[in-house]
């Protein structure tokens, strides 16, 4: 069994003295683990960093084996961010949330594209926090717990959707939301397709909204918590 493709490093765990088990995210094969020999050597330790795009060659005798990766450096996306604490926190949060939520060996091409776009925009603080929230919404969507933002759950209106029902994940318009404001979750307007302009509380509301559904639909049933890296990113963004 073998394949070759490009993929992003999500996490690196040391294994023995010189090897490592890496988690990567590929377009064709989804999240994949494998052993890299000589990972702590001079050639590889610089490129095996979360967020770096590598050329990967995975090989195993049987498909269910862990397998071994042979890696070659592609784009070093992490290095330019090392001196930027906010962007670095975003990079680590994005890698951690993908690693934390996606099942292994399941291709999610749309998520891969969203993740790739997010990492490319990581030096643009005006843009990446919103892209990060879209990535989390995409994770919910891809794993079958998507938010329904097409119309109001109560009135079928398609305009002026301002809230989300925490029970169903469906949008609610302003007039229907009025009596239940304390129970509903605010919906950032950039998520409902109203352009890309961010308002004051949009990031906070977006992250809160995603955290609510990620925890209840994906993480808590699997006895997991949101990754610490996400919390550190929120601290950095002062949310």
């Amino acid at each position: 069994m073998e394949w070759q493709t490009n993929g992003y490093v999500l996490a690196v765990r040391r294994h023995g003295e010189s090897s490592a088990i890496i988690d990567v995210f590929t377009r064709e094969h989804g999240r994949y683990c494998g052993l890299v020999r000589g990972a702590s050597g001079k050639r590889l330790r610089g490129i095996l960093q979360p967020g770096n795009l590598l050329h990967l060659h995975w090989r195993a005798r049987l498909s269910e084996h862990l397998g071994m990766f042979t890696v070659e450096g592609g784009s070093s996306l992490a290095a330019p961010l090392l001196d930027d604490p906010v962007a670095l926190s975003g990079l680590l949060a994005a890698c951690a949330i993908i690693n934390h939520t996606l099942p292994e060996r399941e291709a999610h091409e749309r998520l891969y594209d969203a993740f790739s776009f997010l990492l490319e925009e990581m030096q643009n603080l005006e843009v990446w926090p919103a892209l990060y929230i879209r990535l989390e919404v995409g994770i919910l969507d891809e794993l079958g717990y998507g938010l329904d933002l097409s119309k109001c759950a109560a009135t079928n209106e398609t305009e002026n959707l301002t809230h989300i029902s925490p029970r169903t994940g469906r949008a609610v318009c302003a007039s229907a939301a009025e009596p239940y404001l304390d129970k509903l979750l605010p919906l950032p307007q950039f998520l409902s397709g109203k352009g890309f302009d961010l308002e004051a509380d949009d990031l906070k509301n977006g992250l809160r909204l995603c955290a609510y559904f990620l925890e209840r639909r994906l993480l808590w049933p699997a006895n997991k918590q949101l990754p610490d890296a996400r919390e550190r990113m929120m601290d950095r963004l002062k949310i």
Binding site: N52, A78, D83, S89, A96
Partner: protein
Amino acid sequence: MPHTSAGPQIEQLITLLSRLPGLGPRSARRAVLHLIRRKESLLEPLGRSMIEAAQRIQSCKQCGNIDVRNPCAICDAPGREQTSLCVVEQVGDLWALERAGAHRGRYFVLGGVLSAIDGVRPEDLHIDRLLALAEQPQITEVILALSANVDGASTSHYLSDVLAKANVTVTSIARGVPVGGELDYLDDGTLSAALQSRRSV
């Protein structure tokens, strides 16, 4: 069960040695044979040294270095600079810096770096002790000498936020081309970091 050709004490010695970094069962067996052949000159002194070290080694209450005295020889040295404090990840890093003779001030061993994958959180590191040390009036600079990787960098940023409470200058070691390094052989990340950290000559 592997076939044993020696007594239980020797097998136990081989098993213990094979757990050391760089040694496996075969190399541990060779090492034990070597020790046995030099019983008086190597095996017995080694055994005595190990017992003595195990009894006397302790972690320095000030910096976290390992020594047979507390405070350690570095913290207690009268001629060392008392104004700068170099923060390292592990004792091995402290020893490497000390071997190079590059830093003449004091050290602090953090005990690791923040890591999302390994679940290392700020409370798992000795950050409170570092802050207490940095708040001492004689300390004017804290040098963050952590690994030049994503976890090391995020820990450095976290520490610089924490150390903002203390009245010190926080600096970090440079990243870039190593001495003797040829650009053609360097990875993209190192080249990118080196260019970012360029300075006028």
